[in-house]
């Protein structure tokens, strides 16, 4: 009996032990990854050279000598003096010394990290999965309609011809003398019809063209680099102001200089996201666009540390939003004082692969917005000077309160909706439609 119990416990405990060791094994691998990400990943990637070398196969390069690697990791500058390979490595990386991990990582942890590196395998990319066909050409109906109209017109003309022929035949039979047939280009009815159609269509086109002069809604020029706002501001959530910080500080929302692009693209040298398409639906190679940026920047990925930002050449982007020279427009006035969102005038920029002009940018469009937009008085020091409005609002509120008290409400129970009073004041009321605000 006791033997049996003993055997049972032994079996159970071995099972438990095996299970435990299995769990701890996976958790150890997890630890290695976590340690690597916390301590090494800022400078090393496994398959890409960053501040430090790519670490895949590091043990082979060190000839499997873990003891030396340990010394190197713990205090690289001291170890480099004793080992020619290590000192050559420091030289190759322009004297950038690795942080000393003495006291940060112990031997066991270093081993865990090294194990993680040893067992790491690059993930094979499953190319072509997803994304493809997502942008199947949207069938354009206008072509179909055009062809249909043409066919119908031809049918109608033939039927007219047939009708007149039949009429002629029947007339011949009943002996009515047929009038001399008139060619249709001499037929007055036809001529009148054509003139009317030409007048209507021509007039419409002329008016539309005249209104459209100098207006560029939907303008979407091809840029020197296919830069996708959808990828940067949409997927990667980079704030508009990261690149266009000037929008808050002055007249222009600045176009970022190449060094701002290179803040990230010094390290990000390939595009791995969703497939990119230009406005015509043609696929765009993202990595090639980054290569183009490197050309402008004069950046050589193999010698990243030696890059000199002052040698960069500006990218000549094509300007999309162009207000006429006789209009003054200031970005900071709208974003900072007016608290207008970028998207109000630029549309859903986070969804645009290629930017196009969203707003009309006509005077009617400007004035309309100034008439409708409520002034953001709250928590806005810029408008504290509008004493008169303050007094007016106060008077109106006092009056309404007095009315309510007269009706029998108690003063302490009255809660007026302040938004109702503030919302009456539009930009127009504070001079937003005066000519010289924008034209001078």
């Amino acid at each position: 009996m006791t033997h049996r119990r003993l055997a049972k416990t032994i079996i159970l405990s071995t099972i438990l032990l095996i299970g435990l060791s299995f769990i701890s094994n996976t958790s150890l691998a997890q630890d290695g990854k976590a340690l690597f990400n916390a301590n090494c990943a800022s400078c090393h990637k496994l398959d890409q050279k960053l501040t430090g070398p790519a670490l895949m196969g590091v043990e082979d390069r060190w000839k499997g000598n873990r003891a030396n690697l340990h010394k190197w990791i713990k205090n690289s500058s001291a170890y480099a003096k004793t080992d020619p390979y290590a000192s050559a490595l420091v030289k190759e990386y322009n004297g950038t010394v690795m942080n000393a991990f003495e006291g940060v990582l112990d031997d066991k942890q270093i081993d865990l990290v090294l194990d993680y590196i040893k067992n790491w395998k690059p993930t094979v990319e499953t190319a072509g999965a997803g994304g493809a066909g997502a942008k199947a050409a949207e069938s354009d109906n206008s072509l179909l309609f055009g062809i249909l109209t043409l066919i119908l017109a031809v049918v109608a003309l033939t039927l007219l011809q047939v009708n007149s022929n039949l009429k002629k035949l029947s007339d011949d039979k009943s002996g009515i003398p047929a009038p001399e047939p008139i060619a249709f280009w001499k037929n007055k009815a036809y001529i009148a019809m054509v003139i009317v159609v030409l007048f209507v269509v021509g007039g419409y086109m002329t008016t539309k063209g005249a209104i459209g002069l100098g207006r560029n809604k939907e303008y979407q020029p091809q840029q020197p680099i296919f830069y996708s706002h959808k990828v940067h501001a949409g997927t990667n959530q980079i704030n508009c102001l990261y690149c266009h910080g000037g929008a808050e500080q002055g007249k222009h929302a600045n176009i970022p200089s190449v060094n701002v692009c290179m803040n990230c693209h010094k390290a990000i040298n390939e595009y791995k996201g969703e497939k990119l398409f230009d406005a015509e639906g043609k696929e765009v190679d993202g990595t090639a666009q980054i290569k183009k940026l490197y050309e402008y920047a004069g950046f050589n990925p193999a010698k990243a540390a030696e890059w000199d930002a002052s040698k960069a050449r500006p990218i000549e982007w094509t300007k999309i939003h162009n207000l006429p020279d006789h209009v003054y427009f200031n970005h900071s006035q709208h974003t900072k004082a007016g608290k207008v969102q970028c998207q109000t005038c630029h549309g859903e920029i986070t969804a645009m692969g290629e930017v196009k002009q969203f707003a009309e940018l006509s005077m009617g469009w400007c004035v309309n917005c100034h008439r409708e937009t409520k002034v953001q008085f709250k928590e806005n020091g810029f408008y504290s000077i509008y004493e008169k409005f303050h007094e007016d609002i106060k008077k109106e509120m006092d009056k309404d309160e007095a009315d309510l008290i007269e009706k029998g409400f108690k003063k302490e129970n009255i809660k007026l909706d302040t938004a109702k009073y503030f919302n009456k004041i539009t930009v127009e009321k504070i001079g937003g439609t005066e000519c010289q605000k924008c034209h001078y």
């Binding site: 800022s42 400078c43 890409q48 501040t51 990667n236 990261y242 290179m262 990230c264 595009y271 540390a305």
Partner: protein, 209 residues
């Protein structure tokens, strides 16, 4: 006659198909000299001004300090492979010793715009560009709270790194002025101190156990 109609049909079809609705060219303009500035505007090419006899330097006079701006940083950028100034910058004290509530929110906002995309909104080095390694950025941004080096880095050295860039991080001197950089560093230091204050009692507790 039949041939002619076929040709007309085909050309009409080609014209209709080739009319894409993507507008690559701007519209005509009624009075171009009123629409496009005759004067040189921002981002106009003024590299060739000298050819027309105009001598214009768009750089401020050396040593100019803008109003409200902090004094310049005393150390220049190290030459490649040198770390003298990087080490020396440790001794530089921040000119910002306190910020009002409003200034602090502004510093936080600037941090979130410029730093947060990599270093994370919680300063944990996990911004949307890293996203636990699944983002596009190949290098792990420093965890400003937990990293052994950065959490203890003196403010002067932080300023050096933000100004001139360090390792894979670029220079932010063109995006943030000196005052903004010092303010952001003040904000980070404040967050680091707060994190340490909450971590320290926990540690003593576990030690007591």
């Amino acid at each position: 006659m039949k041939k002619l109609t076929i040709i007309a049909f085909l050309t009409a079809a080609v014209v209709i198909v080739s009319c894409s609705d993507v507008k690559r060219k701007p519209n005509d303009i009624y009075m171009p000299d009123m629409a496009y500035s005759r004067a040189y505007e921002t981002y106009a090419d003024h590299s060739n001004l000298k050819d027309s006899g105009i001598y214009y330097d768009n750089m401020p006079v050396k040593g100019t300090i803008a109003r409200g701006e902090e004094m310049p940083f005393p150390y220049a950028k190290d030459a490649l492979g040198d770390t003298t100034n990087y080490v020396a910058s440790k001794s530089v004290k921040s000119p910002v010793d306190s910020l009002t509530e409003e200034q602090l929110t502004e510093a936080e906002r600037m941090y979130l715009i410029n730093c947060g995309i990599c270093h994370g909104k919680n300063l944990d080095g996990n911004g949307p560009l890293w996203k636990d390694g699944s983002g596009p950025f190949p290098a792990a941004p420093k965890n400003l709270i937990a990293d052994a080096v950065v959490s203890k880095m003196p403010e002067g050295q932080m300023f050096y790194s933000v100004t001139y860039g360090k390792n894979t991080m670029g220079s932010y001197a063109s995006q943030l002025n000196r005052k903004q950089r010092w303010d952001i560093i003040y904000y980070i230091k404040k967050k680091q101190a707060a994190a340490k204050a909450t971590a320290a009692p926990a540690k003593t507790e576990t030690a007591a156990k």
